[in-house]
């Protein structure tokens, strides 16, 4: 008797709730990564790479995702068909840190927290825009760190690291950023 009543209750609730919504759809992703994808597009637009970085005027901007990909298909879909200065985007999932060198932008996923120093060390001095979402990422030598604060996405910029990478970040972007610096001595001595 009890299970029956239960089933009826569930059935009523479900049928009431779904009179209005019948299409089956995919995607259960959070809007966090949709917004972060928007940031990445904007960064590509507001950062200038050294003139010799791209082989041809229409060479794509290669974005590498290092570590577990939190975007799913969002980043690919957001950037599909989009161009910045005549360049399309190419999104790659990096298998090893060595593939970093082919990228113009590297998104360091939070799964790489433990291997951060290694990754930052590898791209040091190369014109690669590193974007992270790890506490202290920019302070530890990353260029841009996306920070969630009160459920809004903010970002930190390490201007020194950008200079070392020979990247020119537009003042419009810097005006909105929280500027961070690396600590003077410790924490930087790799190996």
């Amino acid at each position: 008797m009890r299970p029956l009543r239960l089933l009826i209750t569930i059935a009523i609730v479900i049928s009431l709730s779904f009179g209005f919504e019948a299409q089956a759809q995919d995607s259960s992703v959070s809007s966090e990564y949709l917004i972060k994808a928007g940031f990445i597009y904007n960064f590509a637009n507001l950062v200038q790479w050294p003139s010799n970085t791209f082989a041809q005027p229409n060479s794509p901007i290669v974005i590498g995702i290092l570590g577990e990909d939190p975007f799913g298909t969002i980043l690919d879909r957001v950037l599909e068909g989009k161009k910045v200065n005549g360049r399309v985007f190419l999104v790659k999932r990096l298998k090893s840190a060595l593939d970093l060198k082919e990228c113009h932008i590297v998104f360091v996923s939070s799964s790489e927290m433990a291997h951060l120093a290694e990754a930052i060390h590898l791209v040091k001095g190369m014109p690669i825009l590193t974007i992270g979402e790890i506490p202290g990422f920019a302070k530890r030598g990353g260029i841009i760190n996306l920070v969630l604060e009160d459920n809004k996405v903010h970002f930190e910029v390490n201007v020194e690291a950008a200079k070392e990478a020979d990247l020119n970040i537009s003042s419009r972007l810097l005006a909105l950023a929280r500027i961070v610096q690396e600590p003077a001595a410790d924490g930087r001595k790799t190996e």
Binding site: I10, F18, A24, E118
Partner: protein
């Protein structure tokens, strides 16, 4: 949900375009069609910074990485469950048994051995162990947090002794609150209903400068007494509590972060108590009161080096427990813990740590309960090391490690484990683990005397002219309980909308606690002269338990999510041949063989939401409790910019049922009844 600041510049049409896009993002967040992904590339950085996002669930991240049966309760899960306490929030975890004894007492365990004084589960709040050395368990009516500030609750079923030490035998519960920078708004909540008559909480978060954030909170609730089913009158099990606390997070330049947090609490509760006496009628039942108070202060310093990180944590915790007519206890715990994580090579990550804990206990006894010595300081030293080796392009991870502890009762204990995680594809992984855990003796198991009943003189059980006291004694000879656990699991993300998780285990226990009858003796004090029939704690039980836990998370439609779980537990725990323990074999008879749980969460139009929880708990033959269904339902309304409203009912279908019975201390259990509640939460930006 969304706050749009005044646009700094730009024409009206730009503003409108931005607003439309933001609306689209929100629509997307609420589950709009995937084909029409809003064009975030058309939004400016300013616009993007002003969108409130729903954070991705940490569940999937954690799940993919752990070679253990782990389940994560998110903040959203807590909010939508309507839970007002930690035990209520834990009801959704597969494989946990959460049972209420009366309005202020709970029995909670993982993988068997339940009881008010259940002793095989370790619970931590922000890294602070809330496990009492008194009985190696948790006083659930002391533990509380501001639920709105909880980031997540991680529940690990199975042993976690290598990392967390002795007593993380059958499970570990980690309650983790948000950092202060994530609670920067003001919040006020008020609620009331037929069970919790009134509750209120406030929290304020702010920042001192760019690197220092803080929050402070206070909360109060008052739970009504319920009816004693055996008498039909009040069981006097009311409960009220007030609590406050703070947390500051400071990230000075560089790779340091410092956290300082603390809480103070005070509560009062009631119960109907039955205690033995030496004069006719040899027992008395009366309304009794208890009070609980305490506080804690915790500091943590994390430092990141280039290729490693360290963490240093210290805390002090004080708890005062007074259960009138029974017992008074003051516990002071000081704990310091150091951890260092580094990369030994590209494929090896090593964690090691050192810990020290001092616990001081001072107590006052009664005729019913006494503890010797009345003052005791215990020192616990611990060290652990664990190496995680990644092979085959990180698809195979092997973890080996061990904890080494020295405690005042049993000396050295070693708790090793080895774990293996194989990521078969991006969406599938299997894991397996073998671990040893011990449960070290509690103060009560060493020095307790509990007079549990009097057999009147001149009765068939006691033909002597003297009353006979049945008394439970601790023993200096009591040893640690041992567990050797074999576990395996499989996880899959079938589609982006459906994931499932299966864990199986076989636990082999030795030296479990038994109560062995001793030689009766005559006692002249207190008067009258009486016989004592002692039952002494020994380690003469053992055996195996096995079971499985299944969990599935299915987003049927973008606005409809179904969570379901099933767990099966079989216990075969027996007395050793030399044991004379008169109680029956199988403490498993107080753990349900089958449990299932389904939650439906639906986002309705116009910011309404609906949640339905259905739980089934199999019968508990050992305490004579039949199986039951329990249905909770909740309606919420979160109008944009306004307060959030919530109304609901717990145990909607049956009028009332018992969930568990007390053990050791004979208080009247009360039934879980149908209740209704409403609450409102304001968030001020």
């Amino acid at each position: 949900m969304l706050t749009i600041h005044q646009p700094k510049a730009g024409s009206a049409s730009q503003t409108i375009r931005a607003l439309l896009l933001i609306a689209q993002v929100l629509f997307f967040a609420a589950g709009a069609s995937a084909q029409n992904l809003p064009d975030v590339t058309a939004m400016s950085v300013e616009d993007l910074m002003n969108v409130q996002v729903t954070s991705v669930s940490k569940r999937s991240q954690k799940l993919a990485d752990a070679a253990a049966a782990i389940f994560v309760i998110t903040q959203e899960d807590i909010r939508r469950s309507g839970a007002t306490s930690i035990p209520e929030a834990l009801r959704m975890v597969p494989g946990l048994q959460v049972a209420r004894i009366d309005e202020n007492k709970w029995a909670i365990t993982s993988r068997g051995f339940n009881g008010r004084f259940a002793n095989k589960l370790l619970v931590l709040i922000d890294g602070r162990s809330v496990y009492t050395p008194l009985f190696s368990g948790v006083y659930w009516n002391i533990q509380d947090v501001m639920l709105e500030d909880v980031d997540r609750i991680e529940v690990i079923r199975g042993p976690g002794a290598t990392l967390w030490g002795a007593n993380a035998v059958n499970g570990v519960i980690n309650i983790i609150t948000k950092p202060a920078q994530s609670t920067q708004s003001a919040l006020a909540a008020a609620g009331g209903g037929t069970e919790t008559l009134g509750s209120g909480s406030v929290r304020y978060g702010g920042r001192v400068n760019k690197s220092t954030y803080y929050r402070a909170y206070a909360k109060y609730f008052n739970v009504a007494e319920s009816i004693d089913p055996s008498t039909g009158r009040s069981a006097y099990d009311n409960w009220d509590a007030v609590r406050g606390g703070f947390r500051t997070d400071w990230t000075p330049a560089g790779a340091d972060s410092l956290t300082l947090q603390g809480d103070i609490h005070r509560s009062g509760y009631g119960e109907t108590l039955n205690v033995p006496s030496l004069d006719a009628p040899y027992a008395s039942t009366f309304p009794n009161k208890g009070s609980l108070s305490g506080g804690n202060l915790l500091g943590r310093w994390n430092h990141a080096f280039a290729n490693s990180s360290t963490s240093l944590q210290m805390y002090y915790d004080q708890t005062n427990i007074t259960e009138d007519s029974l017992f008074t206890d003051h516990e002071h715990i000081f704990d310091i813990d150091f951890q260092h994580t580094f990369h030994a090579s590209g494929s090896q990550e090593v964690v090691w740590g050192l810990g020290y804990r001092s616990s001081h206990d001072a107590n006052d006894s009664s005729f019913t309960v006494s503890l010797q010595p009345s003052q005791l300081t215990l020192n616990l030293f611990s060290a652990f090391a664990q190496d995680e080796i990644s092979l085959l392009d990180k698809r195979l991870r092997i973890t080996v490690g061990s904890k080494f502890e020295h405690n005042g009762f049993t000396g050295f204990e070693v708790e090793p484990n080895t774990r293996l995680l194989w990521t078969i594809t991006r969406n599938q992984s299997v894991w397996t683990a073998v671990s040893r855990a011990v449960r070290t003796p509690a103060l009560t198991e060493e020095g307790l005397r509990l007079n549990s009943a009097t057999i009147p003189p001149g009765t068939p059980q006691n033909p002597t002219p003297f009353p006979t006291l049945l008394s439970v004694f601790g023993s200096r000879q009591f040893k640690s309980e041992d567990l050797l656990a074999y576990e395996a699991g499989y996880r899959m993300q079938v589609t982006s909308n459906f994931s499932a998780d299966i864990a199986v285990f076989y636990n082999h226990y030795t030296h479990l606690r038994s109560a062995e009858p001793g030689t009766p003796f005559v006692e002249t004090s207190p008067t009258p002269v009486h016989i004592v029939a002692p039952f002494v704690a020994e380690n003469k039980m053992g055996g195996g338990t096995y079971g499985t836990e299944l969990f599935a998370d299915w987003r049927v439609l973008p606005k409809w999510r179904l969570l379901s779980s099933y767990s099966y537990l079989q216990m075969d725990i027996r007395k050793d041949l030399s044991s004379l323990d008169p109680s029956a074999d199988n403490p498993g008879l107080v753990s349900p063989r089958h449990q299932f749980y389904v939650r439906s969460s639906i986002d309705l139009p116009k910011h309404f939401e609906h949640d339905l929880d259905v739980r089934y708990t199999d019968r508990l033959p050992g305490v004579n409790i039949p199986s039951y269904y329990s249905v909770d339902t909740r309606f919420g309304w979160r109008p944009r910019g306004g307060p959030e409203f919530s109304v609901g009912s717990q145990n909607l279908l049956n009028r009332r049922h018992l969930e568990f019975l007390p053990d050791f201390i004979n208080t009247s259990p009360t039934e879980v009844k149908r209740t209704f509640y409403g609450s409102v939460t304001w968030r001020f930006e």
